[in-house]
Amino acid sequence: MTLAGDILQITALSLLVAGTSTLVATLIAVPIGTVLGLREVGSARLLRNILFTLYGLPPVLAGLLVFLLLSRAGPLGPLRLLYTPLGMVIAQVVIVTPIILGITMSVVSTVERRVKDTAFVLGADRYQLSITVLREAAAGVLTAIMVGFGRAISEVGAVFIVGGHIEGQTQVLTTTIITDVAQAEYGHAVALGVILLLLAAVIYSLLYRIQERTLP
């Protein structure tokens, strides 16, 4: 495989894995985070504490957990997802979901009570109420998704453990940089590092522009 082809494939897989994980995590975390953030009673507090613990979950630990789950000898072994991109996505969803959930919950809970009251008085039902609050918190929720994607694309421990860094199969930018450095392939490593940086810059500036449009 040519150097350029190899870099292209690694970059594409990195984007696919991090993007898919972020999308799935967003679909799980934003609705749940909104519902929990809207609750004002203390029952949500315990959950919030658990979440903030998960928030700090070391990615490597998530990787280990998912590895043990997906290994042939593990409970989900028959699915044969170890050392596959889907397995990596599962590990990253475990890492990213608490991050998006936690931030969404806290930005939704800081939306003024009066927003809910006003929407209620104007005739909103529960769903419309949630959407209204979510819309007011849009900048914060977008930040949550940005942070989640940033964590996913730069994460290395979990994708290494669960993906196995198989050439042409589960190599991503971060894991390849690690093995490149071990092999003293510094030029290749730097090229991948620059791509990682550019990707982050492009995606962040894109999201930043969306975020700007959602300002009051």
Binding site: T20, V24, T26, S71, R72, G77, R80, I131, R135
Partner: protein, 282 residues
């Protein structure tokens, strides 16, 4: 109509997620390729990619691999996560076969362990009379030494050599550093830290140009320094679902004329790295 448009956003998000998942799932379809766990030293020499390509050309069987330490490679086999292992630690391999995790064992090739270190060689390893003597000199001088400490074949050999020198590595001081990493990474660290380390000559020759501060200090072909590589298909009786037939075909190809002649002809920077000695019961 912002409630309707919000619904549209959600639908777009869901579609995007489903498409992304579908692509990921497609790439994750039950693999048709043979999955091998092997050691970092075979990857780091650069032998694997061209050799596997030849095997695929001959048999139509695609092979992918994860490169880890011998201990971890055997463990991947023990968990049934891979179809075949290619390792270099005969004692551990015997256990692997005895526990019915391995089906059979073909020895493929060997190379030689060498001691490399700072070109200045303050411990005088160049003048050593044997491998244990070389390590004893490093010990006497308390010269910095990088141990892979990863239960790899190289690491196991290193510990055996310390024992042969009458030394107990677990009691060593801070000069004895444990990298917990593969051969290539450990050589990189030794190069940066002006330390001695034990390497296989294959990885050394492959990496030599990138290691300016290290020199080859002890490379005699004592029988104790022989580094025997073997291939072991994972036992389908213990681990149903592994690609046993393909693994056997791979093991047989490696010891057959095509595999053996490829290994014998493989050169890195002008050095022949592996000596083929294929035989076995697979």
């Amino acid at each position: 109509m912002h409630f309707a448009s919000m619904r549209q956003y959600i639908v777009v998000l869901i579609i995007a997620a489903v498409v992304a998942l579908a692509v990921t799932a497609y790439l994750s379809l039950p693999r048709a390729y043979l999955l091998m766990a092997t050691t970092t030293s075979t990857r780091d020499t650069g032998l694997l990619p061209p050799m596997l390509r030849n095997f695929t050309l001959d048999t139509g069987i695609e092979v992918r691999y994860i490169a880890v330490g011998t201990g971890q490679a055997l463990d991947a086999g023990r968990r049934g996560d891979v179809d075949v292992v290619m390792v270099h630690a005969p004692a551990l391999e015997a256990e692997f076969i005895a526990s019915k995790d391995g089906l059979c064992r073909n020895q493929i090739m060997y190379n030689t362990f060498v001691i490399v270190g700072p070109a200045g060689d303050s411990a005088g390893v160049r003048n050593a009379t044997s491998a244990p003597d070389a390590l004893a000199r490093i010990y006497d001088n308390r010269s910095r030494f990088e141990s892979r400490a990863d239960n790899s074949g190289t690491n196991i050999k290193e510990l055996a050599l310390w024992s042969a020198a009458g030394l107990n590595a677990s009691s060593f001081g801070t000069w004895y550093e444990k990298t917990n990493q593969g051969m290539g990474a450990t050589l990189t660290i030794a190069n940066e830290r002006a330390a001695y380390t034990l390497s296989d000559d294959g990885t050394w020759f492959a990496r030599e140009p990138t290691l300016p501060y290290l020199g080859l200090l002890y490379n005699r072909t004592d029988s104790v320094l022989r580094n025997q590589y073997s291939v072991i298909p994972v036992n389908p009786a213990t681990h149903p679902g592994v690609f046993s037939e393909r693994a056997l075909a791979f093991a047989q190809w490696l010891v057959g004329p095509r595999g053996q002649s490829f290994i014998g002809a493989f050169k890195v920077h002008g050095h022949t790295i592996f000596t083929p000695d294929g035989t076995g019961d697979c």
